[in-house]
Amino acid sequence: MGVVIEFKNVTYSYPLTDEPVIRDMSFTLEGGKFYGVIGENGSGKTTLCSLIRGFAPSFYKGELQGQVLVDGKPTVDYGPGELSLKIGYVFQNPFNQISGVKDTLFEEVAFGLENFGVPPEEIEERVVEVMKMTNILQLAEKNPFELSGGQMQRVALASVIVLKPDILVIDEPTSQLDPEGTESVFKIIEEMKKEKKTVILVEHKIDLVAEYADEVLVLKDGRLIRKDATAKVLTDMSLEKEGVQLPQMAILGNRLVESGVPLRYIPVTEAQACEVIGEAIRKGGK
């Protein structure tokens, strides 16, 4: 698959502000890949998502220089609602992601499909499928306003996945979840990747990014300071000075190499660490 998203010298500032939040950003994202976006708070991650989805500048107004292209067409040229079929956007606060007009969770998840005019039989099929996948089918008859933060987050994800967009932009989907819930959300996202969808995920939990993302984008003060394969970015110790939190396994690996333990490569996930450190120990043991 080719390029689906392209930033051409993008600089963007919100209204009433002097300082741009995104500065001179250029990059391309390819279809079917899983991108992790990391960076400190206020580095422009959420704004990046809004730009991809076209909410900046269409809703936030403000000033956009350069171009954001989705499937080769600038986001500002898409008509109302057109991008919602292409890009599914799940944002941070799950409590504001319900329609506010539905009595049951089942109808809530179906809301988007009704808007797109999908026939009722198909709606039911798709909604049931997605609710099973996100493990919320047992809540189907509950009132959307009565859910916990974690359940809300899964509902938010489900009601976007059900639309089957090609691109998924997900902004910190696990802030309200415990480790178990987080893991399950990542399993869902992985499922999306298997379906050849492009995933752009903002996430603080670096170990999970290390495990699932194909490539990582690192943002700092509105600039893109690194974009490369996950293993390359997350083992780059110089990023620590830029305030980027690296996975524990990568730090451990680096320390081991520094202290003379010969590792075949620097691990970023637990599984990799087990593999290379195990190798080294077995070799050393001989």
């Binding site: 209204p15 009433l16 502000t17 002097d18 300082e19 809703f59």
Partner: protein, 205 residues
Amino acid sequence: MNEKKHSIKSDFSMLAILIIPIAVAVNFVGGQLASLLKLPMYLDTIGTIFAGMLCGPWVGAVAGGLTNVVTGIANPVNFAFIPVNILAGLVTGFLSRGKMFSTWWKWLISMVLMAFVSIASSAPIVVLVYGGVTGSGTSLITAAAMAAGANIWAAVIGTEGIWTVVDRVISFLIGYLVIRVIPARTLVKFGCGENYIKKPAKTGK
């Protein structure tokens, strides 16, 4: 920036559409809270007022009218007051557009005007449809004034009038406090929001 053009259609932006339910609910909750705190006022136009302030007259009017439609479902007597609430939204919206909420004395004029409009619009309904009493706390005073020999119009305007003025003062104060707390980056997205942003003193950063 040159004068903004207004069309009714552009007034009803997505954000304005979402403000209407909030305004309706605030009207409702305000009224409930007022009776919970045993205040002798209705305080049920606060939502209409900030909807009008933020989004202009037409959105304010819809918020006002819809409030009485919705409360009318529980008690159809409220249907009769639909015009009063619509008018409140319209007047606030036009005042907001005319930048009548920029200085304290303009606020004062606006409040007096609003109080006058709501008395003038509700008194005929109270007298002609309800014969002077609507079952609220002030009805007793109205009835007492009538018993003392006052003309029904004088009794209604006299008693309802005082509380209406107090009601509007409190409602506008809340509207003012709300708008002061909302961050500027949110305010700019509303049709009339710019009127409430302190001119950005260009800080030479």
